[in-house]
C-alpha cells in the first residue's frame, strides 16, 4: 500500500525561483526513502511540501489517502530538522512530551511514553537534563525521540545528521535503523551524503537542480538488518557508485553548469 503519493508537484517561490518541477513519487508503507542531490535541487522543499509546511504551486500530495493538510492536522508527521530545535526551557523529558501535550494525552500516559522513548534512544539517565547540557548528537537523539513519541505514520528528516561529525553520524545512522525496524514507520530522509543515503535506505531518490526534479530512482537491495559490515560489502560500493553516477548524470544535464564536479 502506498503511504505517500506525490503527483505533478511544482513549487515556484515568490520572486520566480523554481524549486520543483513536475515531481511524481510514490512511497510504500515501511520504506526508508532518501532524497539526495546537490544544494538547490529542491530536496528540502519537497520534504516541506510533503509535510504541508509549505504549499505546492501545482500538483497534489496524498498521505494515507488524505490530503497533506488533513494528514498534518491528524498529526501523521514526525519531523526532525537539521537543528534539534529543542526548547531550552524544557527538560529532555518535557521536550519529548511536547507533541503528546498538544495531542491531549494524560499526564500518566505521557510519562510512560517518555520513559519508553528515552530507553529507545538510550538517554534514560538524562531525562532531567536541559538541552544545553547535552552534546549535539544527544540533542539530535532527543529530537528523534520527540518526533517518534506519538507514533506518526511518516517520519520526515531534513539532513538530521548534517551538522554532526562523521563518527557521531555513523553511530546515529545505526541507531536510526534500529529505531526504524522497531517502529515500522515510513521514513523520508533528506541528505547530501551518498554513503549515508545508500546505507540507510531501501530506495534512493536522486534529484538534480535548476529546476529541481527527480532524475533517477535507485533501489537499494542490501540485506536487512544492516550492520557496520554492510559498509564494507562490494555491493555497498557498487550502489554508492551507481548513485554517484546518477547524481553526475543529473548535473551534466544541467546545461548552465560545466561538468567539472567530479568530487
Amino acid at each position: 500500500m502506498s503511504v505517500v503519493k506525490i503527483e505533478g508537484v511544482s513549487k515556484e517561490f515568490r520572486g520566480g525561483t523554481i524549486a520543483l518541477t513536475d515531481v511524481d513519487l510514490e512511497i510504500e508503507a515501511g520504506e526508508f526513502v532518501s532524497l539526495i542531490g546537490p544544494s538547490g535541487c529542491g530536496k528540502s522543499t519537497l520534504l516541506r511540501v510533503l509535510g504541508d509546511l509549505i504549499e505546492p504551486t501545482r500538483g497534489t500530495v496524498t498521505v494515507n489517502g488524505k490530503t497533506a493538510r488533513r494528514a498534518r492536522r491528524d498529526r501523521d508527521y514526525g519531523i526532525v530538522f537539521q537543528d534539534p530545535v529543542l526548547y531550552d526551557w524544557r527538560t529532555v523529558a518535557r521536550n519529548i512530551a511536547l507533541p503528546l501535550e498538544m495531542a491531549g494525552w494524560s499526564r500518566q500516559k505521557r510519562a510512560d511514553r517518555v520513559k519508553e522513548m528515552l530507553a529507545l534512544v538510550e538517554l534514560a539517565q538524562f531525562e532531567r537534563h536541559h538541552p544545553w547540557q547535552l552534546s549535539g548528537g544527544m540533542q539530535q537523539r532527543v529530537s528523534i525521540a520527540r518526533a517518534l513519541s506519538f507514533d506518526p505514520a511518516l517520519l520526515l528528516m531534513d539532513e538530521p545528521f548534517g551538522a554532526l561529525d562523521e563518527m557521531t553520524r555513523e553511530r546515529l545512522n545505526m541507531e536510526l535503523l534500529r529505531i526504524w525496524e522497531r517502529s515500522n514507520c515510513t521514513v523520508v530522509f533528506v541528505t547530501h551524503s551518498i554513503a549515508e543515503a545508500v546505507f540507510l535506505s531501501t530506495r534512493v531518490v536522486v534529484m538534480s537542480p535548476r529546476p529541481g526534479r527527480i532524475s533517477d530512482l535507485v533501489a537499494i537491495d542490501l540485506p536487512q538488518p544492516r550492520t557496520a559490515a554492510t559498509r564494507e560489502e562490494p555491493r555497498f560500493f557498487e550502489l554508492v557508485t551507481q548513485v554517484r553516477e546518477a547524481l553526475h548524470l543529473g548535473a551534466d544535464l544541467d546545461s548552465r553548469r560545466p561538468t567539472q564536479a567530479r568530487a
Binding site: 526551557w89 511536547l98 538510550e122 552534546s135
Partner: protein
Amino acid sequence: MTAIAVERPRDHRGARLLRSTGRGLLFVAVPLVLWGLWEGYRWLWINRGWTWPFAVDQTTMPHVADIFRALFRNPSSVSGGGDKLITLLLRSALFTAKEAVVGFALGASIGFLLGVVLAQWRLLQRGFLPYIVASQTVPILAVAPIVVVYLGTLQVAAWFSVAVIAAYLTFFPVAISTLRGLQSADRQALELMRSYAAGRLTVLWKLRLPTALPYIFAALKVSATASIVGAIIGELPSGIQDGLGGKILVFNQYYGLDPTQLWATNLIAALLGICFFLVVVLAERLVVRRAPENLA
C-alpha cells in the same frame, strides 16, 4: 551502545569559593575606587585651582565622609520631628517605593498586554507603534502636572497619580521588548508547532512566550529603575512632600547652605533603584530556565 555524556564540567568547590571571594572583593573595591577618584579630583582641583572640565569647591563636591555623616545628623532645613536624616529619607524612600511598585506593576502589565496584542496583528502594529514611540518623546515633566490635575478631579489619591506617571515610563520598554521577543521564535520551531497542528494560542503559550521571556526580563530591568525615576519626577509637580521627590526639592533649595543633604538623598534614591533591579534579577533567576549564555 553507551551514551557519551558531554556534560558541563562541574565547578570545583575550591574554584567556586575563589570566584565568589573575587566577586565580593570587587563589590567592595569599586566603591573604594570611586571614593578615591571623588576625593582625588576634589583635592587636586581645589588646590591647583583647575577649572577644566569644571571647577569645584566645598559646595559642589562635599567630602564623601560628610555626606555619610549628614545621614546621621538631624536635618537642618526640614522639620523631621527630631528624626535623623536617614530615618527621614528611608521613610520617604518607602513612600516613593510604594508609588514606584504600583506604577511598575501597572506599566509592566499594560506594556506586556500591548506587546502581546500588537504581536498578533501586524496591521495593528503598523498603526499603533508610531504613537507608542511618540508617547515617549513627550517630556514627562510636561505630562506629569496634567495627569495629577486630571486624576485629582476624579478624587484619586495624589500618590496614585504619581504611580500612573511611573507607569507611563515603565510600559514602553516592556511593550517593545515583548513584541520583539514574541516575534523572535525560530523558524524551525514554528514549523515544528505547525506540524503538531498547534493553534495560535498554543503556539503563543508554548513557544512564543517562553522565547520572549529573556527579552521581557531585560526590559523589566530597565523599567524597574525607570519606575523610580518616574515616581520621583511625578512627585515634583504634584506637591507631594512625603516622597524622595519632595525631599529633593527642599534640599535643592538649601543646597548652598548644606550640600550634603541633597547628595545623601541621591544616595538613598540610588539604593532604592538598585533594590528594585535586584528584585527583578531574582525573579528572572527563578522563572527563566535557559542556557547560561543566553540569559539577557
